[in-house]
């Protein structure tokens, strides 16, 4: 088996200051009064993880357990405070669809912009343009500025662009609930097709049925620590017990 993602002793610390010091004046005053203290908060502690090629891992946990932080560390948005992350291949992070969209830009312009964010060339995006527009079903709105889109339309466009290439690793953070029922079905099918081709998936969801349907492995995060990691059949009962 080929190892796609490996995390060694990964920890992520945030400074939660009660009052945010973000002006020079405040900073100097507090420095002089020796009043500059932060409350440390470890969102993740000592996470060790190895994910093999073709694994579809469900990430379970209550709100604030560190699920999104973990996804963002793997996607490279956060650099962990300690520990190392090793990863292989192209990662498609679908943490929030349409990150990188500009509201004043039209749908068409945003396709090129978001494509560039994901590392595609302009020529490639031109080639795939029609396919993206067709999948998103937004043909008649494509020259309208994005600020006039509904949130569902925005998510549909984001999804259509993000899935235009087959990545090696797909990170899905609560995004399978985008759009209306019809589009949800369509997007789930697209992701299933991708999975059948053996890509690695990290899937964050509160919907246990969906996790069971999609994943073969699962992990539980609790207050920043990994509670357990293993085959889905073994983990789900533990989680059920946890949530009562």
């Amino acid at each position: 088996m080929e190892e796609m993602i490996r995390l060694d002793h990964v920890g992520m610390r945030f400074n939660l200051s009660k009052e945010k010091v973000d002006s020079v004046k405040e900073y100097v005053i507090k420095l002089l009064k020796r009043d500059l203290h932060f409350d440390e908060f470890w969102a993740l502690k000592d996470i060790n993880l190895s994910i093999q090629k073709g694994d579809r891992v469900g990430i379970l946990g209550l709100n604030g357990a560190g699920k999104s932080t973990l996804m963002k560390i793997i996607a490279g948005v956060f650099r962990p405070t300690e520990g190392t992350v090793t990863k292989k291949g192209v990662i498609a992070p679908m943490i929030e669809l349409g990150a990188g969209f500009d509201k004043q830009y039209t749908g068409a312009e945003n396709i090129f912009l978001y494509g560039a964010v994901l590392g595609h060339t302009r020529a490639f995006m031109q080639e795939k343009f029609d396919e993206i527009v067709a999948f998103s079903e937004l043909k008649e709105f494509i020259d309208v500025p994005l600020k006039n889109y509904s949130s569902g339309m925005r998510a549909r466009l984001g999804f259509s662009i993000a899935t235009i290439v087959e990545p090696d690793i797909l990170i899905l953070d609560e995004v399978l609930s985008v759009g209306d029922a019809k589009f949800r079905k369509k997007s789930e099918k697209k992701i299933m097709d991708m999975m059948d081709k053996g890509i690695t998936v990290l899937f964050v969801s509160h919907n246990l049925d969906q996790v069971k349907r999609i994943c073969n492995k699962a992990m539980i995060l609790e207050k920043g620590c990994m509670k357990c990691y293993g085959d889905i059949e073994d983990v789900v009962p533990v989680y059920k017990e946890m949530i009562g």
């Binding site: 992070p93 990188g100 912009l113």
Partner: protein, 255 residues
């Protein structure tokens, strides 16, 4: 790093394109604004300061315009860079993109608009019979120094701006001081002869402006000043760049 640049150079182009496109979106005159605006200020400044200071020199408008164009490029590009990280907060929090893209693309798009607005300078010069000499080609040197200076100062401000929000206001005040000490709408001779000549001489932006004007009017270039501005720019890039690199991973925790 080279690999990273390869992967993201298209994004860089897109960000520059976005900056230019959105600046004049939904305005009827579009990019022409970047020519009208300096032209209008030139007229006002010429009327006001030409009268007050008694400069009835016919080429005074060219003098004003050349200084003002350079100053406004510096002020706009550094201000854009200063705000760039916060302005792209949404993107930074959700996808990985090399962070230097944001301030740098802001500086580049302002610089491109600046180059377009130089057309006005050429037009006004010809109308007022300030004809170019061979020396005009040397103008590329101060313009390059100006670009480097904007990058260095911009990277520094982009970093500091993340941690201290009031930097925006502070920088506005500083920019105003820089403007008054750039000899944009007055002749510097009296000041240069006085014992406060350092106000001008150690202002790198004034050095750039002075050198640029020499190229336009075909007078002697003060190489010492140009060298000083160049060294200042390089040092600012080293300091700004290092500061940015050292802190970029922490940006996300502060925005």
């Amino acid at each position: 790093m080279i690999q990273e640049w390869k992967r993201y150079n298209n994004l860089f182009v897109e960000l520059v394109r976005k900056g230019i496109k959105l600046k004049y979106r939904r305005s009827y005159l579009g990019v022409i604004w970047s020519m009208i605006e300096p032209l209008l200020t030139m007229i006002v400044l010429t009327l006001v300061f030409g009268t007050i200071l008694g400069h009835h020199d016919k080429t005074f408008p060219v003098y004003i315009l050349s200084g003002r164009l350079i100053y406004s490029l510096f002020s706009q590009s550094t201000t854009t860079a200063l705000k760039s990280i916060r302005a792209n907060e949404g993107m930074i929090k959700k996808v990985y993109v090399p962070k230097y893209m944001y301030p740098l693309s802001g500086i580049v798009f302002n610089y491109i608009l600046f180059l377009i607005s130089l057309v006005v300078l050429a037009g006004v010069s010809l109308v007022l019979k300030v004809y170019p000499t061979m020396q005009i080609f040397f103008a590329i040197v101060p313009l390059t120094v100006l670009f480097l200076l904007s990058i260095g100062v911009g990277m520094f401000l982009a970093t500091v701006g993340v941690f201290f929000r009031d930097m925006e206001y502070l920088w506005n005040v500083l920019l105003m001081l820089v403007m008054y000490t750039c000899a944009i709408f007055y002749y510097p001779d009296k000041l240069l002869d006085s014992n406060v000549s350092w106000i001008l001489k150690y202002n790198p932006l004034y050095c750039v402006i002075d050198c640029f004007r020499s190229c336009i009017f075909g007078t002697d270039v003060h190489y010492g000043m140009l060298l000083y501005a160049f060294i200042f720019a390089v040092v600012s890039i080293i300091i700004g760049g290092t500061l940015f690199r050292k802190n970029e991973d922490r940006f996300i925790l502060y925005i």
